[in-house]
Symmetry: C2
DNA sequence: ACTGATCATGAAAACGCTATCATAAAATTA
DNA sequence: TAATTTTATGATAGCGTTTTCATGATCAGT
């Protein structure tokens, strides 16, 4: 690899002048510039970024740490974040963490390795933050979860009110006349436990305190947060508890899998059994029947995340903890049931 | 930010000794080590990676350049690559490029900025490589396309034989008795033109040289490579050419959208119209009816990509250009049509 | 107690670059 | 022509590390 010193020697000028050419400084004579540029081209010279950064204490682009590759919802958020960043003229850099990794401990390593201007956490669990986050010295946002109780002064958070939204979801089923409602959940390991736990407890509480007849051991089936997970769980739950008339899936991925699992096992949706999901992933509008779901406002979530991070990167500002609204999306996967009970 | 010098001063030792502690060298007395480690902890000191890298001429992790965020197929490949890299103990770094970006020109910037050990291109078009690739000095792989004709000695490529696979896809429709077959395509801008063009010409040629009655202007509808694109295109094409009995969609995303578009417009799949896709994305097995498709061997593609890159990163090896096998996946979206024509 | 080996530590050079300052040459002005 | 400004360039001091080499202290063996 050629260095600036080589270019200087070969072109007959000093490294200072070569540096000026590299950085397009004005005070270089055209003739000199041309010679040096030719040598640079000939040698295929690329200035060493580490040296440059060391001197200038520069930073890398905002890094987004995604835990759980393959999660369509997170990918949709990521896509929106990328668009927003692009609009602000910022580029991004994404690191996918293994599901098993401790989100923040790994993130600290990444910070050390790349020195990013800012950090966005996508899909990590709150619990990961309790211990290790203090070492993170960079403006950060938790884009899917509520970090207000942690009280860190460089970690904002934006999230849907998962507890209330899940309660709303089952409420919609109750409104439609359903009294025997099952829940398809997520294993803690494969799904950020806080969000999963919030949705689960939101739904369970709403059912137990409402007019429905709900017994967790009988009517709840945990599963991997995936298509396959939903497919299997729906079948297993209905085999165990055949009198259910509706299912709440803790995520759309699970719901789409469940839809197919039900259909493959001879259940008609929604005539035999209704289904509602959670998240509002793009595919949810393209299933047959179209999936009813709780749609998180992905683009607002991304917009607020980017706005806050950029603001705090450039000015001294307090962190923010906001709740993003959600919407019920009607679908053909819910049938009205005339109360026969 | 504390530097190693601060730690040295505060602990009363020299920077050399502090460096030895940081790097877990053996020749430091336990007492000294403890003192220095305490100071490091107190000061929340993180060694500056740029300085470290400069001294050691280290490199950043393999960087994957993905053009076209939101493309489910590429995300599936990405997921497999990440798994394979993880198995080899390598971490990765992903940069999502705007659709409009020139893949290689951007890559050069990334190299300048990050100095990665290796580079994987996902979803970029071959044409992007013709001009700028010479400046890329790093072992690289084009994971979705054939770069053999370019003859670069640091760019391997792995790809499905898109031309032949697309021909096979329509052949399956012909085998099932269809003679009036439409094609749902992709706009060059939103889909790597080479792959799109290959699939299109493969399908068109197979139809024109086969027993089918195909007229491109009448039976082909270009569309964005997205669910929405397929949804609209299917409707438009059938409005224009109502006597089609089968559709080949140039990608599963388009096919899934088409499925819904057809159903929403009163067509039954497959009784009224058959559909076959291309790619083999996970969602394709969860549609109703299940989508017939040409499945690329995503995990093999990822495996070979990673193997080759790692090998060439560590040893002097010639580049490889391999074709990855593909499979026809049966689905309920194709009906057998008894030749009435 | 005296030599030679071992150990813990410090001093300083180097990594490749940028930026400041100094300086010689050229251009402008009086 | 002398005095002044402008311009192009070179020399050099860092940036924060690692690493080599040198040095003084401790230790074992006679």
């Amino acid at each position: 690899m050629a260095t600036i010193k080589d270019i200087a020697k070969l072109s007959g000028f000093s490294i200072g002048t070569v540096s000026r050419v590299i950085n397009n400084r004005a005070d270089v004579s055209p003739a000199t510039r041309e010679i040096i540029e030719r040598v640079i081209r000939e040698q295929n010279f690329q200035p060493n970024t580490n040296a440059k950064r060391l001197k200038q204490t520069m930073f890398s682009p905002v890094t987004i740490i995604v835990k759980g590759i393959g999660n369509t919802f997170l990918e949709a958020v990521l896509e929106e974040i990328q668009i927003n960043m692009y609009l602000h003229g910022e580029s991004i850099n994404v690191t996918f963490l293994d599901e098993r990794a401790n989100c923040v401990a790994e993130a600290v390593k990444i910070i050390a390795a790349q020195n990013p201007k800012g950090l966005i956490f996508l899909g990590g669990s709150i619990n990961n933050f309790r211990k290790d986050f203090k070492a993170v010295q960079v403006p950060s946002v938790l884009a899917t979860g509520n970090a207000s109780m942690l009280g860190y002064d460089n970690l904002s958070s934006f999230t849907t009110d998962d507890y209330r939204a899940a309660a709303d979801a089952v409420e919609h089923l109750v409104q439609a006349g359903h009294r025997r409602i099952g829940i398809l959940g997520g294993y803690p390991e494969s799904w950020p436990e806080d969000i999963g736990a919030l949705r689960l407890s939101g739904a369970v509480n709403a059912l137990e305190s409402g007019h429905a007849d709900f017994v967790k051991d009988r009517d709840y089936e945990p599963c991997a947060f995936s298509l396959q997970g939903g497919y299997n769980a729906a079948r297993n739950l209905l085999r165990r508890t055949p009198d259910l008339t509706a299912l709440f899936a803790i995520g759309d991925l699970v719901a789409v899998g469940a839809l197919k699992g039900l259909q493959d096992n001879g259940y008609r949706v929604p005539q035999d059994i209704s289904v509602i999901g959670f998240d509002g992933i793009p595919f949810a509008s393209y299933t047959n029947p179209r999936l009813a779901t709780i749609k998180q406002d992905i683009s607002l979530l991304a917009k607020r995340t980017v706005e806050d991070l950029l603001l705090r990167m450039n000015y001294q500002r307090p962190v923010l903890h906001e709740t993003i609204p959600y919407y019920f999306v009607e679908g053909e996967s819910i049938a009205v049931r005339h109360s026969s009970v």
